[in-house]
Symmetry: D2
Subunit: 372 residues, 4 copies
């Protein structure tokens, strides 16, 4: 079969479910193996996953037996949605044993030799994989991560502005969706008629990850972007879609129209290549004064576009705006899959030659692109 085999780590969680859902008709990838914590291992997926997606579990996936994190998996690479409590070691082990690991977990994100990748923003950071392999003694395996769900939307929106104008400081206040906490996650009694002004470890991620993502690759090292970020994070009673109110101090005085244009015209490598999960526009700009709104805009670009609105002058900094991105799609499952697509296209993920013959193996996988 002419596609790459995917193992999903953390398959029963809300991001694992989303990965499986989004790969149900993927042109390059198909799910062939699932792993999760001890509690689920040994069960059929149908019996173990508290499936929260309206469309049903794809039939062939429901019947798969869930493996432990220690077993060999029948796949060419893994997409990891593991909880950070176990992801560190488990992902390292998979990479060491030769499996490319495309991870949504936070465990390895800030390690200097691990790309923190958004294909539209820093595709050149893939080069870290070579340094990583050399330093850690990995052969075919490696680890590539995608950022935190809030950091992804922010970094995408900052990229064209930093390139065109230059950013000196960022103040961001988030209103994050419930699904960002996983399932069961936030108690309904905390969510009902309430806002919670605290999300564990979130502000730190949002203050550091974008600086790595927008950093410059110097040889084997990334020099973080020079601007400071202040983040205040809140959980609001919304199911999906993180909203962020952003203020920017810029290197030069520009008009809101300049910023609008930079955001609107932005395209990245996934758009140029026509990667399967790439939205036509990674950033959509809305002109209405009351958009973006989570319920109306979270599915823009199939959940892969960041929607920006209310671009206007700031009375304290220079420019402010509101952005929305779908935390489970662009900010998690879709972001990881897009990373895998870029890496497959670049030849980093290939059909794996396994000792035992596998009828599942992709003998001659070649990515087929929209534009090439």
């Amino acid at each position: 079969m002419n596609s790459l085999r995917v193992g999903v780590l953390g398959a029963t969680g809300i991001v694992g479910q989303q990965i499986i859902h989004r790969l149900r008709a993927h042109p390059w990838f198909r799910v062939t193996a699932l792993a999760a914590s001890e509690r689920s291992a040994g069960k059929r997926y149908t019996d173990a996953a508290p499936w929260r997606i309206a469309e049903p579990i794809p039939k062939e996936i429901g019947a798969l037996q869930i493996q432990t994190l220690n077993e060999e998996m029948d796949c060419d690479f893994v997409l990891s949605a593991l909880d950070c409590s176990v992801a560190g070691d488990a992902e390292e082990n998979f990479a060491r044993r030769g499996t490319p690991v495309i991870s949504n977990s936070s465990s390895h994100r800030m390690e200097p030799d691990v790309p923190l990748l958004i294909p539209e923003v820093n595709p050149d950071h893939i080069a870290l994989v070579d340094a990583q392999r050399a330093r850690r003694g990995f052969k075919s395996g490696f680890i590539v991560t995608n950022p935190n769900c809030s950091a992804t939307g922010l970094a995408l929106a900052l990229k064209p502005i930093d390139d065109a104008i230059g950013i000196e400081a960022v103040s961001v206040v988030t209103m994050q969706a419930l699904s960002g906490a996983g399932y069961p996650g936030v108690s309904s009694l905390d969510a009902a008629d309430n806002v919670i002004p605290y999300i564990a470890a979130e502000e730190d991620k949002l203050e550091t990850e974008p600086r790595k993502i927008l950093g410059k690759l110097h040889g084997e090292l990334i020099e973080p972007a020079g601007f400071r970020i202040s983040a205040q994070c809140h959980r609001v009673p919304v199911s999906d879609g993180h909203l962020e109110a952003v203020s920017l101090k810029l290197r030069s005085k520009v008009s809101p129209e300049d910023v609008t244009e930079a955001l609107r015209e932005f395209r990245g490598e996934p758009q140029r290549l026509g990667l399967p999960s790439a939205p036509a526009n990674p950033i959509e700009v809305r002109e209405e004064r009351d958009r973006p709104q989570p319920r109306l805009d979270r599915d823009a670009g199939g959940g892969m576009a960041v929607v920006v609105g209310r671009i206007r002058r700031c009375l304290v900094f220079d420019i402010r705006f509101v952005l929305l991105s779908h935390n489970l799609v662009r900010g998690a499952a879709g972001g990881a899959i897009l990373n895998a697509e870029l890496l497959a296209h670049a030849g980093y993920i290939v059909p794996r030659t396994v000792a035992a013959p596998s009828h599942n193996r992709a003998e001659n996988f070649r990515p087929t692109l929209t534009h090439s």
Copy 2:
């Protein structure tokens, strides 16, 4: 009877209801007359008001007939919860005809001779009343306003910090409750599973009102506070309680502990005087990392306290924190009543001598204070 007679303008709206509710057992004030728009005029209050408060309409109020805004009212002063579309003229007329107007409406707030009053913050601004009377030819009447619901909480929290340390710039992002939009206000279809990143005219109020409130009175003029404010306002699906994420640039470097102390020890004139509606502490500081929360903290100090939490350093400015205040209480009905209490104590509101004998008149009203 030994109490001041209150006329409520805009009595059927959500703030008018709250005023009536909060005066049901007030030691100084009792509601004796109601006015509202043409649509309600002539009806009994019970039949006209879409009462949204759990406790029932006070019996003697339910039977009152609603007057139009043009009629003479049997009262010593009015509390106005009129919509700003009609408040401007109506309140001016009441004041001109000799009735003190304590208003929650935005119409007159930014006029230079109208106090924008928070008793804990700028009680000296009452002196503007004399200038106002002179300039407008008012005799016993005058207009005093309380700030916008979001501006009230912010100004209260800024006051002790500006006094103790000095503020250079303020960045504030609000997450405001549905009741701030009145009734019926926000459609449930816009509120469900959603955040709306726009509230008409709100950001402008939040960027200007606190500067007037914290301004210095020079003779008959208020010089606005020197700091700039940037405000981004959002409507979140919460019934009551406005949450605000605040970042401050300060005149000197201080620790979060310094700010905590300044907020915690703050007391104002209402506390010193023991005004009936004054909370013991106008600002309550919480140490838990996930507070304040609207559902748990909006009723602090009977809804009259501002609750501040998460006071910490800001990576871009100097200090940041989260504050919560009850938009219908401190930010509207309760704030207006506290203003009336301060003005009654200061002798600006007195029993009105009317031509026709009124059995309702307060012959010998003297405010009784907790501490005096």
Copy 3:
């Protein structure tokens, strides 16, 4: 162009929007004219409609100018989503002037010569159209209605049970979504953290409409089904999807499995014909003990399927279950469109010959069916 031209009455409301949205790529129908109340008339649709659907307004529709309800419309038939306050006369007038009216409004539903049509349930009731024309002197025009949003789901679920077993009495308690009240509809302050145990006129509709729908056509009259219905209706804080808890007294003792089978195997005329909007299964039965749920199941069959779950014995009646149907789709816009499809297939809606030449006219419309 080979399709039937649709005029949408009540185009700016929430059901009108849904009709426009659902016809954006319809194989038979295309929207060519819009009408609404005086307030919107004369404006472009883009400027008049408070569009609440995530996908944008179809481009060619956004530019259409909205007409009043009195003007001639360039269309072969109209789909009416008018408020019942104006629908009665307006629809009658359109029919009298020769335009087939497929209406979602309640105004004409219970009139004896107007079909209250669910294509899967009572397609034979179309025959009433001839009686209607004769009685009212209509020529090419006529009125056909679809039921109330709650009645639709109930009637669909009752049909196969009544056919197979026979129903003696129905007790139904509904938990209805906010969008059933239109936009702005329910105030967010009434919806927040609340249930409202009353929906104006709803219980009466739910107690009468299913009896007409399941009634037998005798000549030109429908004899209502013999069972009594008791309905208690509630508004719950859910955006879309009406849930109904149903108990049935049946003519003979049957097992839950019998009922399950009757529901599961049910197919109707739209399925046999392969009408464009027909779901593969009009009724989907779920076995999980906690389904159907509005958020997970309302889009079953593209929103056109009724989802039934928890079929079990009743300790008071015989059988009880829970059903869910999408109030805006099967219960309104989708139901009306399916009615139009059935009527177009049956030859009741045809390209209209108009005096003035119209470049929009469908010269040779012939419905293309999935299965024929």
Copy 4:
């Protein structure tokens, strides 16, 4: 000190918290000891309880150390809010060791020698305590339970109707609040924009408990009430307050007015005695067509009154109505406390003579009643 000492079992849960909160100023009872599961044992209450009540933990309670369920407690009786997974044995042990157990848990409710007590409904069932002691060999200890949160409201509303008219069958559909599931309980992702048509074990409780409560005591046995109950239970996104749509088949034809009068005039033993937690009216009848509503009516009678509305004829049975009761107050903590009050008044709970001298002991407790 002249009050009875209370030990709270399951003190950290949402009902345990409510018990502690409601006893903070109780005239007869004061909390002197806390116990909970192993996980919390040994910690101070302040550190162990995820306190979800707006008012803070009473100071003297926060400092108490939590005991295990096996230790002796310094108290005259225990109020148990234990989870039913541990309540069965733990409560039995306390009773066997001599401690009266007033329990909110379901474990012992349906045992034939355990009163399932609502003081307004079946105070005579207390007599079962003697049979219980004899049968189980208890001396000073015993177990008395209060019903399930939904069953309590239903049984209270049925009582005066059954007495006055006679009930033949009951059909009830519930819309239950999130707090009924405890904390963390329902995931916010299941609650958001959703209704869940299933609550584990709930329907069975609602179909059996009211029949025991309204049953007749014959010697040492309760003969259950003769009517059948059909219950369908749903979880709705509301924080507190269970709503129930009820239809009744009655022994004789009566008017809605007759039922209204029976409900309105109903008073029970707690009202006659003036027990501290007794609401003036155990049942409040509302005339408005859209009441009761959870947000507006759940705190009626301090949360101890059942609010009934929409009393009208049923087209299938005889009479139907909607009722609301606060699941955490009347349906749990408040109900258990009222039971304790009745038992203390009846002399079943008395100051305990302990071997070791206790400075906490109530030497001369005598209940002081409002009316006596």
